[in-house]
Point group: C2
Chain length 459, copies 2
Amino acid sequence: MPDRSEITESGRPWADLHERIEASDAAGAAEALADFSLEDQKLVMSHLPTEEQALLMESLLAGKAAEILENLPDALVADILEGMPTKAAAGIVEELPGSVGADVLREMQTQETEAVLAEIDDPEEAEKLRTRSEYPWDTAGGLMRTSFASFSEKATVGDVLHELGENAERYADMDVQYVYVTSATGLLRGVLRLRDLVMTQRHSPVADVMISDPVRVGVEDDFESLRSTFEEKGYIGLPVVDEAGVLAGVVTRQEVREATADHQTEDYLRSSGILGGEELRSMPMLVRCGRRLAWLGPNIVLNLIAASVIAMYEDTLQAVIALAVFLPIVSDMSGCSGNQAVAVSIRELTLGLIRPMEFIRIVWKEGILGIVNGFVLGCLLGSIAGLWKGNVYLGLVIGGALFLNTILSVLLGGMVPLILKRFKIDPALASGPILTTCTDMCGFFLVLNLASVVLTKLA
Amino acid sequence: MPDRSEITESGRPWADLHERIEASDAAGAAEALADFSLEDQKLVMSHLPTEEQALLMESLLAGKAAEILENLPDALVADILEGMPTKAAAGIVEELPGSVGADVLREMQTQETEAVLAEIDDPEEAEKLRTRSEYPWDTAGGLMRTSFASFSEKATVGDVLHELGENAERYADMDVQYVYVTSATGLLRGVLRLRDLVMTQRHSPVADVMISDPVRVGVEDDFESLRSTFEEKGYIGLPVVDEAGVLAGVVTRQEVREATADHQTEDYLRSSGILGGEELRSMPMLVRCGRRLAWLGPNIVLNLIAASVIAMYEDTLQAVIALAVFLPIVSDMSGCSGNQAVAVSIRELTLGLIRPMEFIRIVWKEGILGIVNGFVLGCLLGSIAGLWKGNVYLGLVIGGALFLNTILSVLLGGMVPLILKRFKIDPALASGPILTTCTDMCGFFLVLNLASVVLTKLA
């Protein structure tokens, strides 16, 4: 076991907490945990096995447990809640902020989600959570908050301000920057800015102050369209309506920004070979092994395909064994060059500065760069190879192969993300393996084929 | 040249715009550009060489130019402004939202920045821009907005609401969710929530409603401390004070979120070998070549060091040429396994779920995973090697090398980001090259050394 005494940062007695857990004194442990700083609570929770996490949370008051869990990744919280009695899990979900609750429910197994929802006391609340958790996390329906202030189209500015003032408590948890105006059947009619309300005569009907027929988004609108809507105009928040036009929630610029960050995290993890969502080291070992192997397995096949090129040239290699030293260098350096081009393409796609069919631009912009960089790198590595063995032909073969393979890999690296995007495949996930396999194959082929052409001069 | 007729998406006559640019009819071109959709304007701008971008922007009204530039990456806007007459550039900077203006000035050469600031009409505005642009972009001073509503501590709620109502126009561009209360000398005294104002009797002094001695951040506070402050509490915005305690600006949760996303983008670009900030394909070719080579150069050295292991075992390789096929596979597969561990460590560091000295946890959690995955992958590749040449020893050498190297690489991959973080080196930048070099070296060494031990059985 890891030495747990190392973990605490705030000087709190982690050892004491640990002893209570060992002694199965869950209540005592929960009490000790509640005294920790938020940072330490996060650390402690992430270092316990799932069963102990669940036991600890169960012993806390639901409100306190929610406060701790709120700051942990959704995937981890979902695992913890799944390990708890349904009733206790439901109690915690009720205490979580609406958006976090729905995100966590989405991460749980469908069956568990339903069981928890059935235990939630307020049926209206349960329905809201169900609705939100059923939309993909990055759509308007998945991102929207379902608590918002709405008023009848017949109200006056004074009515609205009075209501907000009288029932301040009710609105305390909402982010009341906009107030919505709806018809008797809930159809969205207009938006009121709090600022405008304050600055208007109290007896004016809201209809005079509201922005009529406001910009809105649909529950099923996807992330790309949300982001471009928020980017194009300076909105802080937008109303979300269902198919019938009924106001279902509110999505804010901040939530879209957070979703952007989450997308980038997902891209980073995928491009590093972490599939199936978040991996945390507190997750069960076999789950972690299995998910990582799911990525490594296909990669081993791709590697075998690339290396089969070497097998075809065993005779050449046998004759000039020095080539074996340069095979991995040429393939790896080309891979690095290609990855740079991949990153620039993904970035330009994200920023909307290139479109998925602009291959000519890539050929033009990456091609020249590939010629320049390929030449520099080729001369460098070629000189080293030539000087090392005192054979100018070896230098030409190695330098030439790196030169050509660099051009090829930047072209490929620039284009692959565009092609994948066009076919709606995640560029962050698939660009790397495709690029590496191709540049490895071509790198091996170029070195060995060029060498076999001048074999008599090399041996 | 790329075929520009391919580019337009909204059916607008790009060809027409192109003709006007060719004919040096900048005014006509600017007019045509103004008709494009925002998406197309971004595309068009990013596809022109820098001089043409500058010429086009110069011909537009400053307000229109600012509207277009606002949505482009800061680095690109800085390049464009540097290519324009100082007077025209200053006009555009004045029209950009304050935060964007300061970000762009920060990206420009110091000399150019000063020249532009000197041309700005309003000296107070120029001073604000200079202040903001002098702080690093991810500190409170660099992120804060400098327009905010503040009132004397002697005012009443009615005064504040009256002022906001009367001068609605003045506050229209600000994000008036909080109103600040300051002393006569500008010292921060308290924060008023708009919501509380609305819900309070008009004659109350603001001092009764305000949150006294509010949480604040200092202009020099760095990103990590800002993020944890916003994360720990649910603040929407926080006042920023200078060394003397004078209110200097306001930083919002949204801005911190955006900075988080920007940091992740920077990490992604760096880990892909794009240094020196953003690379866009509209940038000058030699700048792009140079920056990419700055990363590739050190990499070629690392590659040579790793491959030198192969050179030391030329005799072994000569005797069993089949080993050459498996050298790149073993090193590449180990690299992939190690990269997965790197990604998980970086993620856990970001989430605050691990601390930079927890090596024992890594040894424990990655070690077991490495044994399991190494065993699976080793058996797989070893079987293939053994069956291919019908030599069980070859299978044992290759499988054993991959098994051991996988364990080593996940341990190393898990630990390197922690070590780098501890020494304040960017893990995203340096983890990859360090890991790859080590796993390559060890992979080559294990394959060739194990092979030389059983050489008589292999040959």
